[in-house]
């Protein structure tokens, strides 16, 4: 049980997909201007990432490996992810048009969010079983959402700050992300504790 907990917490905090692995920076920068959209993006990504890790595990183990088609892994993962993203997009467009418009291009771009492809591939590389894969996927997704929301909170505040002109906008956001990453280094070694 603790083993699973460590996987989950490790993925959320210690090996945070954005701040430690530096994956998925595109939506992290793109949709963190407002708290509301960050929540939406976090939820969408969490959904896609969790489902994608599960689906890719199934595809990998029951379709690709039995037939020795491991070389199709990246391709089939991408296709699956793309389909899930499409589905998510339709659901969001139906349920929250404003969120759909606000997320804009970043919503279909979840497809190319390297975190979403990276996590299933890391699962394969780490030899995680199904439950571990799901937990790792969910943990990474929660970690992504968490820092996205925190980042949005900070950016909303920086919005009102008297930031030097040349550093306004994305520049100061990148610096902030760097400092956040620094703070997250505090978790280093926690998952190694026995």
């Amino acid at each position: 049980m603790t083993h699973y907990l460590f996987i989950l917490l490790g993925a959320v905090l210690v090996n945070n997909v954005v701040l430690v692995k530096i994956l998925g920076l595109c939506p992290f920068m793109g949709v963190s201007k407002k708290l509301e959209t960050a929540f939406g993006m976090g939820a969408a990504t969490t959904f896609v990432l969790t489902v994608a890790t599960g689906a890719s595990y199934v595809i990998d183990h029951y379709l690709l490996m039995p037939f020795g088609l491991e070389y199709l892994r990246t391709l089939s993962f991408i296709v699956t992810i793309a389909a899930i993203v499409q589905l998510t997009e339709m659901v969001i467009q139906k349920t929250s048009p404003v969120l759909h418009q606000v997320l804009g291009i970043y919503l279909p771009l979840i497809t190319t969010n390297c975190a979403v492809l990276g996590v299933p591939l890391l699962n394969v590389a780490n030899g995680n079983d199904f439950v571990e894969s799901l937990l790792f996927g969910a943990g990474s997704a929660i970690g992504f959402s968490l820092v996205l929301v925190l980042f949005a909170g900070i950016r909303e505040r920086i919005e009102g700050a008297d930031v030097p002109v040349h550093f306004r906008g994305v520049a100061i956001a990148m610096i902030t992300a760097g400092l956040m990453s620094l703070a997250f280094m505090g978790f280093a070694g926690l998952d190694k504790y026995q």
Partner: protein
């Protein structure tokens, strides 16, 4: 003993009240000119009822209340109206407002005054009397008093709170009024009590005014009124209506509600006094008690006529040479008077002459360090530093999320801010921007509705016009055919045809007026025909044609007719107007 409640926050600035209570209320002499602004209360702007050159008596109506929430304005003394024109207002902007300029004749002659017995009259009549007498809240908000004297239909009126707290530093006009005219105040409160029928009447006075408390207690006892005169702890802004209601009743009135919804109503002591004068003496509000203090030789309270120019008023106190400006109201919520011409108005409770020693220049504004002092002292428990953060960034949506409209602009936050940020200014800025936006939004909605209505109407008209035109064209074609036939038949006598065509035109331009659409169609048709006519008369040189040329033209016309082309409807000679 009444249980008192506390409001959170508040500050304790130096009160500086003792300077101006040494002398009784003085009656200010008649000024040489009075500038009475017509708009002196919340609500509709009263209409001017006098014209330049007219003679007015003291108390004569010069501005009639416009709408129910509006209060009348009266001539403060007898004299001659010199002008009804724009004059600088008692307003921080220094902008002008429509004012009646009166030159006093020195006789101070009252118009006929008719007291009423408020107990014998219907409540509506009493409220109307107050409206006609221009009785408004004299605590500073100048809300028409009659508008507050109707109890809520659903919530029983529990407490009537009378505000004699006077928490702002320097101001002592209510203090002196309570000391000297306690009986009339109590009688005025009695009028309010009769109209609202509350269960209790509570008069709250800050405990730094023991004389006023004693005077009111004595007056209430003498008149046999069961009013509780309560000394409340001295802490700014205890005199804010909502704070005083909180302290005396424990009720908190949110910005989204009126106090009557919670069964409370609050009036200033001076308002009660003027209400009694209006009811029992038939005197409208033409003067008020104004504290003149600060950097003057003789700080004192004066009963001054409304409309007295600032320059003449401050001369009564003898401003010291280093005076560098005048504040209207207290140092916490008042504003700098724009010019010395600005008049005293119903809202003017105090004039403070300022000097660099009294109000030293402010330290430069530093960035907010979010220390939270402002939040600690905010009587409405807001987070001023957050409001500031968003107001500064002009993020008005966020300021509303942080309840900017609950801010009463009491100035406590600015008072304690270590960064010396003009917080109140930021909040006022944000509020007025939001209001302006609201107005724009309403205007936009209205414009949209009107545009849509017009578009719909045009669509309908177009359809109708098309129909009409089709009919008209058919009729025209038939007529033309007939005319052409007639013209062809009697080429030698074109005059009748011309006459017929001439009568045709006016007939077409006078369609029935009731159908607008038909009219438009007719106009269009007429225009069309006029153009055709003009085209026809194009050759202006036709009236001096040689017979040979005429013959040629006739031939051409004949050929045209043979070819089926219409002949010119009128003969060239007669078509000249």
């Amino acid at each position: 003993m009444l249980q008192l409640f506390k409001f959170k926050g508040g500050v304790k600035p130096q009160t500086n009240k003792t300077q101006s209570v040494g002398e009784p209320i003085g009656v200010a002499p008649l000024p040489s000119r009075l500038f009475v602004p017509l708009h002196q209360s919340i609500g509709g702007t009263p209409r001017p009822l006098v014209a330049a050159g007219e003679r007015v008596l003291k108390g004569q109506l010069i501005g009639g209340a416009d709408g129910w929430i509006s209060a009348a304005v009266h001539a403060p003394t007898s004299g001659t109206v010199r002008a009804v024109a724009e004059h600088v207002a008692a307003h921080p902007s220094g902008l002008t407002t429509l004012s009646v300029e009166i030159e006093p004749d020195g006789r101070d002659e009252w118009i006929e005054r008719t007291p009423i017995d408020h107990g014998a009259l219907a409540p509506e009549r009493v409220r109307e009397r107050l409206r006609e007498a221009g009785v408004v809240g004299l605590g500073g908000a100048v809300f028409p008093t009659h508008g507050k004297l109707t109890a809520s239909k659903t919530v029983p009126m529990e407490e009537l709170v009378i505000n004699g707290a006077e928490c702002e530093p320097y101001i002592t006009c209510d203090d002196l009024l309570m000391r000297e005219r306690a009986e009339e105040i109590v009688r005025g409160v009695g009028v309010f009590r009769d109209l609202l029928q509350p269960k209790r009447v509570l008069i709250g006075i800050e405990d730094n005014k023991p004389e006023a408390v004693a005077a009111l207690q004595a007056a209430a006892a003498k008149l046999g009124e069961n009013f509780a005169v309560v000394a409340v702890p001295t802490r700014y802004p205890a005199g804010g209506a909502k704070q005083l209601i909180r302290v005396l009743t424990g009720k908190e009135v949110p910005s989204t509600k009126r106090s009557t919804d919670l069964g409370v109503q609050c009036f200033n002591v001076a308002t009660a006094y003027t209400a009694w004068r209006a009811v029992a003496h038939g005197e409208p509000v033409v003067s008020r008690i104004v504290t003149l203090t600060g950097n003057v030789e003789r700080p004192r309270n004066w009963e001054a006529l409304l409309g007295t120019p600032l320059a003449e008023f401050v001369a009564l106190g003898g401003p010291k040479p280093d005076t560098d400006g005048y504040l209207m109201g207290g140092p916490m919520m008042g504003f700098a008077m724009p010019t010395m011409d600005a008049p005293l108005v119903k809202a003017t409770n105090c004039i403070i002459a300022s000097s660099p020693a009294l109000f030293p220049p402010k330290a430069p504004e530093m960035p907010c360090i979010r220390c939270g002092e402002c939040a600690k002292v905010c009587p409405h428990e807001l987070q001023p530093f957050e409001l500031y953060w968003f107001a500064r960034a002009k993020n008005f949506g966020k300021t509303q999320e942080y309840h900017i409209f609950d801010c009463i602009e009491c100035g406590c936050c600015s008072f304690v801010c270590p960064s010396r940020i003009p917080l109140v200014q930021y909040f006022r800025f944000a509020k007025s921007e939001i209001w302006a936006r609201e107005k724009e939004k309403n205007a936009a909605d209205q414009a949209k509705a009107r545009f849509e209505w017009k578009t719909a109407r045009e669509e309908r008209e177009k359809a109708e016009k098309a129909e009409k035109l089709a009919k008209a064209a058919a009729a025209q074609a038939a007529k033309k055919a007939a005319e052409a036939a007639a013209a062809a038949a009697g080429e030698a006598a074109p005059a009748p045809a011309a006459a017929e065509a001439a009568t045709n035109v006016p007939a077409a331009t006078n369609p029935p007026l009731d159908a607008e659409a038909a009219k438009k169609a007719a106009i269009a048709a007429a225009l069309e025909r006029a153009r055709a006519q003009r085209a026809a008369v194009e050759p202006k040189n036709v009236d001096r044609l040689t017979p040979a040329q005429q013959k040629d033209i006739a031939e051409v016309d004949a050929r045209r007719q043979q070819a089926g082309i219409e002949a010119p409807p009128t003969a060239p000679e007669e078509s000249q107007p």
